[in-house]
Amino acid sequence: MTTETRSVILGVAASDAHAVANHLIAGRLRYAGFAVENLGVCTPLEEFAEALERSPHSIAIVIGSLNGHAYEDLRSLPQLRAEGRLDRPVILGGNLSVGSRKSNESLELLRGLGVDVILDDPDKLPFVLDSLCRPQLVDAQ
């Protein structure tokens, strides 16, 4: 039964109230055939974890962050994972650190927290999610 429904949990990071891109990405994923539980703007990781506990068949957690505070907002990811929660690929995209030039360093810090996929283009999202539906994980880039 769970093999046919491809559900994802979508939301914007805790300190971020950017709604437009969130609505567009939810729309894009729905057009691509995914069931989207959209938690909307300003969503702490705890709420993503609770949503996953409500919908355990979800294949991934998709988090947008546009205000440059991704690291602060995702800081509790290692702890949640250590507690056995948020046990799904976390896909992160947007504008991930303050300033107009992005360093590899800031992306490494996010990977260090346990972010599985960092996306520079929301167009790639359906393909990345498709790859998660296959037996083995495929690297996004």
Binding site: V20, L24, D120
Partner: protein
Amino acid sequence: MKSLLLELESRAAPDLLTVTIDSHTRLKHFATAEATLARNPGHLNGYPLVAHGWGRGRELNESVKVPLEVRHGSPDARELLAVSLASGIASFEGGGISYNLPYAKDVPLQESLEAWRQVDSLCGVFAEHGVIVDREMFGTLTAVLVPPSISLAISVLEAVLAAREGVRCVSIAYPQGGEALQDIAALHSIPLLAERYLPESVETFSVLHQYMGVFPKGRSVADALILYGGLVGRIGGAAKIITKTNHEAYGIPDTRANVEGMRVTEAACSSFLDFVQVDQERVALERDWILCEVAELVEPLLACDDLVAAICRAFANGSLDVPFSASRHARSAVIPARDTRGAIRYRDCGSLPFSEATRKRQAQSLSGTNSDPDGLKVIESITADINYFAAHDVSKGEPLPQLLQEAS
């Protein structure tokens, strides 16, 4: 804030000035605002009026010759109103819908409407004592592709609620959408809507917010868009224009950019541009469409005994809606689109109670656009509509990631 206002007053000579409140105060985190003010005032993104208190507020108000307006984004502005009034500031923006849905994730409309009922009621008490407070409705809403009839319908509902609490002066603010005839028509609708839905004792003014969507980065195009907004405001008969700056695409503007924005807008209102004329027949047609759509949205609600309950029900069932809401308490099932001229239409009316004639006209107005009714291209085309002006920049055709950084 005082030096900013004084500099704007001396260099741009506007007719009034606005004070934007920081986001801690908007959320009633007054202690946080106070602590930040003490430790790190540079980290505040606006003026913490409640933390400063009415004494300093009054000092600020009296330091400039022109009236001040308080602008913010609070679902519950009761304390802020009290301090504003005690500071002698008699113009106050917001409403129980327009300062909830774009700004808060999970504040029930019932709560924000009750808080704003108390705001309006206090303004009503002041009016009885001869102090008229200008209550401005924030029709800009989510600021991205807001169809005129949604903006105006929500402002009408807020204005009716305010009038019932005794408010005597209402400003209806409309956001420049980007197509001149439609925007002028929307501004022309405002006095007609006031005549139709508000008591005679209420004085109504129309306000234009210059383009609030994704701004072009290039300075000359940004200035041109500001000039365009000024022209639309003047031809539309706006009593007030809230100006933008050519720094809009980059973040919070500095004083110089604000001065330039005001000066360019003032130039747009100069008589040497009187030659700019628009097709009045087309404007009247657009205006009639807008009036008809607003009637279809608000009249079923105004017929209910309990208007607040009717509004809450309407957002729950989608018969009132805003696109791209930050709040869970609006469905955002409505999907806007630009027609070939750039006017904002409804690609999807969601559950709005529009007549067959309105739906048909909306669909017809989008014929000839690249709308792809069943596919992935919907998102692409909304993105292009959002980037309408930014795409006129030197770097044509903004890629999506760029949009994601800018749209809010």
